[in-house]
């Protein structure tokens, strides 16, 4: 208690120097929370959006299906078995058939992934209900990125060419019946969604699917030849992106933290150099050297306590505002191919705040302790004279 009281008294007594150190450290503290909260918010948002729009509560994949290998797509399909048909009927999963195709918007040629989905499905947010039309033309829904890239809009017709199961090319016009807006670019860029029954008929893959998206009630795991991929597996790409972003951000706030810690280290060295007489007095009054080291370490470490208090003073309103209003992102972010919204709403969890407080306090304590080790070698009689050694 004496150490804490003395530490804070000395810190306030040091005036401007203390507040400069505390300001820099508090800035580092707020920036660390901001960066991590920003990435956590992005991560959270990306998780929710990807689940809502693409992966549901997991997927059942055909053993040959590899989303990164379009050459294998030709073989990545199989008939829907009776077991699975029951699950489809009970709305626990919905089939998706995927094949490669080409469209010719404004006379240009563009390779796409043609995806068949049930218009009645409600597991993912793709507006498949719009595909439930009675006309002779094939209805299609596309995302806003695809619409932009192909210069297509709702009501436009475009020529589609595909190959059937025998490798024979066929072509027909499709009509864009809806353009959806989603943060998940992997269901949008280069994707055209049509009714699965029509795609099965066009390709000759009658009653076949490439994968199934499952809902929250699905618990069966692997079924028949279909391999269950859980959300953890399917979201790994997002995790990897966030991890790499976090690693990059450590450089930025780490640098800031190092500057703040260097200032504390410097202050500690100066303190011990200038306050030798005081150290000698403590020893003369009956303190052990380790108790004096403790007092000086606490004093340096107390910078972090003040920094947290100061950081909270301006950090809570700023970060609170950003958490509610979100951070707008430039339009170009849309084309990066990663799941990201127009705005990111940072997420500042208790765990993040506590771990940042611990990081700041522990690192400040460590840099405060190192210069104080000199005290253990200090001769008290020299210290009392204020002899600089």
């Amino acid at each position: 208690m004496v150490a804490f009281k003395l530490a804070f008294r000395n810190l306030f007594g040091a005036g401007l120097r203390t507040w400069l150190n505390v300001s820099v450290l508090s800035f580092a503290f707020v920036v660390i929370i901001f960066y991590n909260g920003y990435l956590d918010g992005w991560n959270k948002q990306a998780y929710i959006d990807t689940k809502d729009w693409e992966i549901g509560n997991g997927q059942l994949w055909h053993p040959t299906y590899d989303p990164y290998d379009h050459y294998s797509l030709q073989d990545a399909h199989a008939p829907v078995s009776g077991n699975i048909q029951k699950l489809i009927s009970s709305d626990q999963l919905t089939p998706v058939l995927i094949t490669q195709a080409t469209i010719f918007p404004q006379g240009r040629m563009q390779n796409i992934l043609l995806k068949g989905i049930s218009p009645a499905q409600q597991i993912i947010k793709i507006p498949s209900k719009s595909l439930d039309t009675a006309g002779s033309i094939i209805p299609a829904v596309i995302g806003k990125r695809m619409a932009f890239a192909a210069k297509l809009k709702k009501g436009d017709n475009v020529l589609l060419r595909w190959r059937d199961k025998n490798g024979t090319f066929d072509a027909k016009e499709i009509q864009v019946v809806d353009v959806f807006s989603s943060n998940v670019s992997t269901i949008d860029n280069g994707n055209i969604w049509i009714p699965i029954s029509q795609l099965q008929q066009m390709t000759g893959f009658e009653n076949e699917a490439t994968l199934f998206v499952v809902d929250k009630t699905y618990t069966a795991g692997n079924i028949d030849l279909w391999i269950y991929k859980d959300t953890h597996f399917l979201l790994k790409e997002i995790d990897d992106i966030i991890e790499s972003k976090k690693a990059g951000s450590v450089l930025i706030y780490g640098l800031l933290l190092i500057i703040a810690l260097l200032a504390i280290f410097d202050t500690q060295v100066l303190s011990i150099f200038r306050r030798q007489k005081e150290i000698g007095t403590y020893i003369a009054l009956g303190m052990t050297r380790w108790k004096v080291i403790w007092i000086f370490t606490i004093e340096g470490s107390a910078h972090s306590i003040l920094a947290i208090l100061l950081g909270s003073l301006y950090g809570i309103p700023i970060l609170g505002y950003l958490q509610i209003k979100g951070i707008p992102l430039p339009k170009t972010m849309d084309s990066y191919g990663i799941t990201i919204g127009d705005r990111i709403f940072p997420s500042f969890s208790i765990g993040l705040i506590l771990s940042t407080i611990l990081l700041v306090v522990i690192s400040a304590t460590i840099v405060s302790y190192f210069p104080t080790r000199r005290i253990s070698k200090l001769n008290p009689t020299d210290a009392l004279k204020g002899k600089i050694s």
Partner: protein
């Protein structure tokens, strides 16, 4: 009845390293100081007064010989034991007061008791009593920067006395004070010596202090030149 000996020094020498050589600060010192003495180590600068005081105060150790303080051999004490000895039994008064600038008068005096882990009620009574001895009860909330040199030294005396030590070591306590304040603080210490039977040992070359001493140990070039008891009645 003869007072018991608190400090016993025999064949004590102290050497310091100076460059490649050595400087002999104290040579073959033998002395004994009894309970309740008001003793001065006097002599010119460099005679070894402060070095001897530091050894008695367990802030330093002898190079040769022995120094026993309150039955404990200074050379054999660990850092912790030495700190305990100072904390419980020895009070220090310095030439430059050495008060903690961020603390008030009350807190400066209280500091020594905090180390003894006394309760606040015990501390408050003891601190107010100590401040009463030195006549500073009206300055409890003042900071050292708001006090005169004389007042600072009186706070230092209160800090040294508040824990009721058996020995108080005062290193040139009047060096930074004017004549009036010098007399005042030495008279205060003399009064405490009489009332509380505390042993005071001064390192001084100030004549104003010397006139109050009961025993004068003169040092010259690290050796005891003269050791005499003063008969004040005869002087008066």
């Amino acid at each position: 009845m003869e007072n018991r000996s608190l400090i016993s020094i025999s064949n004590l020498s102290k050497r310091f390293k100076v460059g490649n050589g050595e400087f002999l600060a104290l040579k073959n010192i033998n002395l004994s100081i009894a309970e309740g003495e008001f003793t001065g180590l006097v002599g010119p600068s460099g005679s070894g007064k402060t070095t001897l005081l530091n050894i008695i105060g367990s802030l330093d150790i002898p190079s040769d010989g022995t120094a026993e303080v309150l039955g404990k051999s200074i050379s054999t004490l660990s850092h912790k034991q030495a700190a305990m000895l100072r904390n419980l039994n020895i009070g220090f008064i310095f030439q430059t007061y050495n008060l903690l600038p961020v603390y008030t008068v009350f807190e400066n005096v209280e500091f020594a008791l905090l180390l003894q882990k006394k309760t606040f009620a015990e501390r408050k009574i003891a601190v107010m009593e100590a401040l009463d001895w030195v006549g500073l009860t009206d300055k409890v909330k003042s900071k050292p920067s708001q006090l005169s040199g004389g007042e600072c030294q009186r706070v230092a005396i209160a800090r040294a006395m508040v824990k009721r030590p058996q020995i108080v070591l005062a290193d040139e306590p009047s060096a930074n004070l004017d004549a009036k304040n010098s007399h005042h603080i030495v008279q205060t210490m003399k009064r405490l010596n009489k009332e509380l039977k505390t042993t005071f040992i001064f390192a001084t070359h100030d004549e104003k202090v010397m006139q109050y001493l009961d025993r004068i140990i003169s040092l010259k070039d690290g050796e005891i030149e003269k050791d005499e008891f003063v008969n004040h009645a005869k002087n008066e």
